[in-house]
Amino acid sequence: MAVDVAREAGLLRGARLRVSAAFWRRPWLRLAGLILPPVGAFCFVYVASLVVLLVSGFWAVDAFTSQTVHRWNLDNFRLVFSTADLTYWRIIGRTVAMAAAVTVTDAILALPLAFFAARIAGRRLRGAIFVLVLMPLWSSYLVRIYAWRTILPEQGILNWALNGLGLPDQHLAYTVWAMWIVFSYIWLPFMVLPVIAAFERVPDSYLEASMDLGARGWQTFRRVVWPLVLPGVVAGSIFTFSLTLGDFITPLLIGGSGSSMIGLTVEQNVGLNAPLAAALTTVPVAVMAAYLAAAKRLGAFEAL
């Protein structure tokens, strides 16, 4: 019995050695073993679903039962890009404009904060700023959106505070302005962190050299700091832009009449007219592809 166990262990050990020897002798096998699972997952989970999406955009839907019919046609794309009916152009325009506005807002808010955190604040204060920036991410995205729903309504916290200060009511709830505020708030951390990292990488000696050469503060920022920080801002903008572009929950919960965005329109069509939803989805894919190409030129991927 004891002999059997020992023999079995020996055999197992031998097999293991042979397998590892095979891998050692053929480096390509080792590489394939390492790379196949992620590549397979990438192909099947990611690329395949994108292809399904694109393909189903060319299908039709039964008018009565709302079931997908595998009849090839271009009607969905014709409807989305129709010049006679501008509904979808309006929604696309609103979405892209919102994504751009949120990105600019977040950049303007993040730059001074990141500059302070990276270059002025001491170590403890910097740690505190990090925690404060990241703190909202500890709670669910939905909880934060619902919090805004208690702040913005007519009888919400904001009007209560404004009235306390003797100021008139605002009517922000369920408007595009409300969405702009909430989006800017929600995605701010994603802008602040890469910008802090970018500021930290600016060498002190550059600033000293700039001052030695007689540049004022603003000049130093414009000519020296901004070009060095720009890749960080662009990296942050990839997050703020793409997250806003695809989001449907904020328009659903914060948006009102006339504030539909691409994501929400897709969500509302996906159950009943999946081909139309698929056709519409190609728009943010194309917009993001163009945006990433531009970001690459600005060196954002080195700053990530």
Binding site: C43, V55, F64, R90, Y174, N269, G271
Partner: protein, 392 residues
């Protein structure tokens, strides 16, 4: 990497992707259940998954059911018929093997029947059925070719809701939600079937259009209705997706007038919000709901037990008063009065059949109009696209 290999790699990826693309939808097509109807209700499976209008399995009557049968209820609330149909389509249709029953209104029920998402039931297993109001025993929205695709449940009108402090004088007409007087304070359901409400209003206020049925609109009638709704859009604060959203807007003062279901009115009144509702002089659209059995229901016995339970007079009465609607079983009348004096008359359960005929029940718009053979009517896809144009 050389160019040629890059191209070859890309080709391989595209080919693999296409292969996956063709494989995925094929797997989604499920088999239909056989036509053999059950002849008796077996033992409950311990669970029951419902797609329902809010409060359609209110704990006040769902709890006793769970205790009696051991069927633990999991509910998914829907805010529109579209959501219900979409939920039934998930996972390859027929409820995706996840949902057992759906409380479909008349504008969803036929789409579910012809889409094979629901299956016929043995109505003989629902003893209360023989007591139903005649109009709801085998209505065309849930009975096709003599087969019952579920059991009728409750019905009622869509009403005009207003804040009594902010809206003076009290409205009598649907014109209140189309006039700029309450700009930015109007609350409208986010549901393409809402086009019928506007059509009903035009039917009475612009007879020249010749609208005969708010669900059967010719191109000209449809365009006039859509244009009215586009004019209404700047007045609307929010197109609500869930009843709870509208309740919140009336509580917070973001909306003071709007189209609603009695459920929201009752909930707001219970929360001491000064609101009232009415059926305006032009009449109202309404709903007639059916519990329909999903084609891939995982718990059919619990589903039958539930259909049997909710059609009994006591439960019919309870649900009617929770949601603010009218039972299909007139034997519920005394039980309604017991819960709330005069409730039976308030909800018109003892009214003559002409009352239910006066409500324009939701139905799916189809190209064949019942009232004219000269023209085609606008189909539901057109309604949905128009609704996206209006609200988007």
């Amino acid at each position: 990497m050389r160019w040629i290999s890059k191209r070859r790699a890309l080709a391989a990826v595209v080919a693999a992707g296409a292969a996956c693309a063709l494989a995925v939808p094929a797997a989604g097509i499920g088999s239909r259940a056989g036509s053999g109807l059950p002849t008796k209700i077996g033992k409950g499976e311990g669970a029951l998954n419902l797609i329902e209008w809010p409060a359609y399995s209110d704990p006040s009557f769902a709890k006793p059911f769970e205790r009696q049968t051991g069927c633990k209820i999991k509910r998914k609330d829907a805010g529109s018929s579209n959501q219900m149909v979409a939920l039934m389509h998930t996972g390859g249709g027929g409820g995706g093997g996840q949902y057992d029953l759906v409380s479909a209104s008349g504008d969803a029920s036929l789409r579910l029947i012809y889409g094979h998402d629901v299956v016929p039931i043995n109505i003989g297993l629902i003893p209360s059925w023989k007591d139903f109001l005649p109009a709801f025993k085998s209505p065309p929205h849930n009975t096709v070719g003599g087969k019952h695709y579920g059991v009728s449940l409750q019905w009622g009108p869509n009403t005009l809701l207003y804040n009594t402090r902010k809206v003076k004088p009290a409205p009598t007409s649907w014109s209140a939600i189309y006039s700029p007087r309450y700009k930015g304070k109007v609350s409208i359901p986010n549901n393409p079937i809402q086009i019928a409400d506007a059509a009903l209003y035009l039917m009475k206020t612009r007879p020249a259009l010749g609208i005969k049925d708010p669900y059967e609109l010719t191109k000209a009638q449809f365009d006039a209705t859509v244009s009215l709704l586009k004019q209404q859009k700047p007045l609307v604060k929010r197109y609500w997706n869930y009843a709870s959203d509208q309740i919140q807007d009336f509580k917070n003062g973001d909306a003071v007038i709007g189209a609603t279901w009695p459920y929201q009115t009752l909930t707001l009144q219970a929360a001491k919000v000064p609101v009232k509702e009415l059926i305006p002089k032009e009449g109202a659209t309404g709903w007639a709901d059916t519990w329909m059995l999903a084609a891939k229901a995982p718990h059919p016995n619990c589903a039958y037990l539930w259909m049997r339970y909710v059609t009994t007079p006591q439960v019919q009465a309870k649900q009617a008063i929770v949601f603010g609607e009218t039972p299909v079983n007139p034997k519920a009348c005394p039980f309604m009065n017991k819960i709330q004096a005069g409730a039976c008359a308030q909800y018109h359960l003892n009214a003559p059949a002409s009352y239910s005929k006066s409500i324009r029940f939701w139905k799916t718009p189809v190209p064949d109009c019942g009232w004219t053979s000269k023209e085609k009517c606008m189909d539901y896809t057109a309604w949905q696209q128009a609704w996206t144009q209006i609200t988007g």
